[in-house]
């Protein structure tokens, strides 16, 4: 690479956020960000369109929005944070996978537990009457 950091001559790992050492010229790197920006704009515009339209079957909208959001997060990770599947990225991907596991457990677990509690709890007005 024509640019350089004095230290990263090691080609076994790459820092998260850094592009691969053979990432290429200035034009190629700016082009990468432009592709990311284009995809992100496309996905965002689709999300806003789907949320406001009557053209789509209504019950499918929440699922569509979630899928579009996850896709856009993927675009950001690949094109802006340069998280790739290369061997030099294994550590970064493993850390990310662990983070995603915790996030899923936390959100999914909270919703599950609270829905279960709501389901099993006596309605509030009955509870108030019993305490009278």
């Amino acid at each position: 690479m024509s640019s350089g950091y004095d230290e990263s001559t090691d080609n076994i790992d790459v820092a998260p956020g850094d592009e691969h050492l053979e990432a290429g010229s200035l034009a190629q790197r700016v082009g990468g960000y432009l592709v990311g920006l284009g995809l992100a704009i496309l996905l965002t515009a689709t999300s806003f369109f789907v949320a406001g339209t009557d053209l789509v079957w209504q019950p499918s909208i929440p699922v569509a929005l979630v899928v579009l959001a996850i896709a856009q997060m993927g675009v950001h990770l690949v094109f802006f944070l340069h998280i790739s599947t290369g061997a030099d990225n294994t550590n970064n991907v493993l850390a990310l996978a662990f983070g995603v596991l915790i996030v899923i457990l936390l959100i999914g677990g909270s919703l599950w537990i609270m829905a279960n509690l709501n389901h099993n709890m006596m309605p509030m007005d009955q509870l108030m009457q019993m305490q009278r």
Partner: protein
Amino acid sequence: MADTTMAHFHGDPHHLRSLEGSGLAHSGPAAKRIVTGYGFWIFILSDMVMFSAFFATYAVLLGQTAGGPTGRDLFSLRNVAIETGLLLASSFTCGLASIAADFRSTIWFQIAMAVTCALGLGFLAIEAREFADLVARGAGPTRSAFLSAFFTLVGCHGLHVSAGILWLLTMMAQVFAKGFRADIQRRILCFALFWHALDIIWVAVFTVVYLLGSAK
């Protein structure tokens, strides 16, 4: 650099050199840029775990409006679309700034960072106006559990953006005063990670809070 030369000097008793390129070879401790970036990556992931707790809280409290306004009554999708555009554009210019830093172009780095800062401030201004408007309409964080969760989640993201802007200005000043030294380059790497991560969290915010909140 020094460790790799050392390793070559002492020969290669375990024939690890033949593994080079397969990702299995070891040539001593990783460069400081990789270690620093990785550590900051772990911090960002823990920050995302914290945000996921706020998201879970928001999702659980979504229906607890205490007879007050719901998201559908309150949110203006036009504002949110502008905010999203500003933050996405700022993520792009932040990427340009890190390329400029790699190529050691002070002028382009400062220009890209200044644009990033302006876009971030625009985002914050719109968000502040939205919050002030909600409070003025009697839909402040004290109105209902739903609104408490809303202000906590979105406000926490706004605080992160504010902190990011302070950090951004610090980096502009440091590059101005000290140039692209290796340690400054590492800080720029961490800043770029932070700023892009904020945009990822905003994707979740505008989808879960605003789009799903105002859908029928």
